[in-house]
């Protein structure tokens, strides 16, 4: 088919990026008090669980973590075929908390817009900060990430894929050329 795949980050590079992002989160927020982690399904929730684990190792504190599914908030409902609906699972209040929103890849910014609307419907957080493993550019909305694992310049027709193993631990980030 002529499509080419290139590995951008391997498992240990991802682990190091997550560790650095965790340190940045803790530095900016002066610890983990009042923090909550919300991962965007699917993939972001696995990374959020990993950051939660790192915070525990570094600070010894437990940070609540949940998952948000943005399908109900997408701006393209009614365009194309109907999408499967995942589950939002946030079993704690967001009011007056600092939310770290976690996603695998930031691209147009539309998913993040949908996720922020979803969070605002559920509560009133003090702040929302965004952590992503990969920033591939091509933003269509005025949104930027606060914590970035790796900036990867990409063409629009390329795809970026984050692979996880069965225990939801990240294995690899791949760039797929058409």
């Amino acid at each position: 088919m002529g499509s080419k795949e290139k590995s951008i980050l391997d498992g240990s590079s991802i682990e190091r990026a997550i560790t650095r992002i965790t340190h940045e989160i803790l530095e900016k927020n002066k610890g983990c008090d009042n923090l909550v982690l919300i991962g965007i399904r699917s993939g972001g929730d696995h990374l959020a669980a990993l950051i939660r684990q790192r915070i525990k190792e570094i600070e010894g504190g437990e940070v609540p973590h949940g998952a948000v599914d943005v399908t109900m908030y997408r701006d393209d409902v009614g365009h194309g075929s109907v999408r499967p609906m995942g589950k939002t699972d946030i079993p704690f209040a967001l009011d007056n908390r600092h939310v770290i929103l976690v996603d695998e890849v930031i691209y147009t910014g539309r998913t993040i817009r949908a996720a922020m609307d979803a969070l605002m419907d559920i509560g009133r957080p003090s702040s929302i900060q965004l952590a992503v493993l990969v920033d591939r550019g091509h933003r269509e909305l005025p949104i930027r990430a606060d914590y970035v694992g790796r900036n990867v310049p990409s063409a629009r027709d390329e795809k970026i894929q984050v692979l996880f193993d069965e225990a939801h631990l990240p294995l690899e980030v791949r760039l797929i050329k058409p």
Partner: protein, 311 residues
């Protein structure tokens, strides 16, 4: 994901994969119903018309809430107080509603097959059957399945007893098709006059003794004795006699499995098909059914109106 239906007429047409998708989607929407702010923008700009030619409180309210919680515009039309009383035909009424660019028409009608008749004639709108005559009531069956799945963790392999006026129950038929598709054993029981001939050909075990039907069941679904239909065409001698032989009470419920759940599509006739002790007992999940009804209807509306034909 493939949801290939444009209309929901009955559970008879739904595959196992279809039902699983509807239940999973409904589970996602349940979370919205438990929030402080019970509204998501998913179907904003969509129009849903509830066209009810028969009385309904639960089903109509449930569809209305489902649409509104997804930000769709929901309008109710009931036969009394509409141009139906001026002699307009069903087809003309529906064509007019379609001309107003309704995305989904939710329809209840006393004639079996009326929603199907519309679905074949409308070119743009989707039709959901909210109960037609003695035919089907698919959204009720799907909320029953969601309730069973929540309480039992599965549907396959369970024994479900459905007791009452099987002949005139659209709920019984929709439950039967859907439960069989999902791999449950279905037992039907009622007085002989209320058991339609040939129903066993649909894969049900048929009993005229409620005790045999209930024995070791995981789920007992009691059907309402339809007092409004009893007036014209009586199938039972008296309500008291019916209650004596076919009501679920504190004695016969003991024949079911100890963890069996008791369901009822409502409205309850306390003291007729179900004793108040059982209706309010620890095994009843009747209000869970009502709660799940909103989520299941959100799922149906989303699956019909959340995509487009052009790709």
């Amino acid at each position: 994901m493939a949801f290939s239906h444009r209309h929901i007429i009955g559970t008879q047409q739904l595959s196992k994969a279809d039902i699983e998708l509807i239940l999973e989607t409904a589970e996602s929407f349940k979370e919205v119903n438990q929030r402080d702010i019970k509204k998501v923008p998913t179907l904003r700009g969509k129009t849903i018309i509830n066209l009810f030619y028969e009385n309904s409180t639960r089903t109509r309210t449930s569809f209305e809430l489902a649409g509104k919680r997804m930000s769709a515009d929901t309008i109710n039309i009931s036969a009394s107080g509409s141009s139906v009383t001026k002699g307009e035909t069903l087809e003309d009424t529906a064509k007019n509603i379609e001309a107003m660019n309704a995305d989904v028409i939710v329809m209840r009608h006393s004639c079996s097959g009326a929603p199907d008749y519309l679905a074949q004639r409308l070119t743009k709108s989707s039709v959901i059957n909210a109960g037609d005559g003695f035919h089907e009531h698919p959204s009720q069956a799907l909320l029953d399945l969601l309730t069973i799945k929540e309480h039992k963790g599965k549907i396959e392999g369970l024994t479900v007893a459905i007791i009452g006026d099987i002949a005139r129950s659209r709920v019984a038929r929709s439950d039967l098709y859907a439960l069989k598709t999902m791999g449950a054993t279905v037992r039907l029981a009622g007085p002989a006059t209320m058991l339609p001939p040939g129903i066993e050909e649909l894969g049900a075990e048929v009993y005229t003794d409620i005790n045999e039907a209930i024995k070791d069941a995981d789920v007992v679904i009691m059907l309402r004795i339809q007092l409004e239909r009893e007036g014209g065409n009586t199938l039972i001698p008296t309500l008291r006699e019916y209650a004596q032989f076919f009501a679920l009470n504190t004695e016969n419920i003991k024949l079911a499995k100890p963890d069996a759940i008791v369901m009822h599509p409502g409205p309850l006739n306390r003291g007729v098909e179900i004793s108040s002790y059982v209706a309010d007992g620890v095994q009843n999940v009747i209000l869970d059914q009502v709660e799940n009804g909103v989520a299941v209807r959100m799922a149906l509306l989303y699956l019909l109106a959340g995509g487009s034909d052009e790709e």
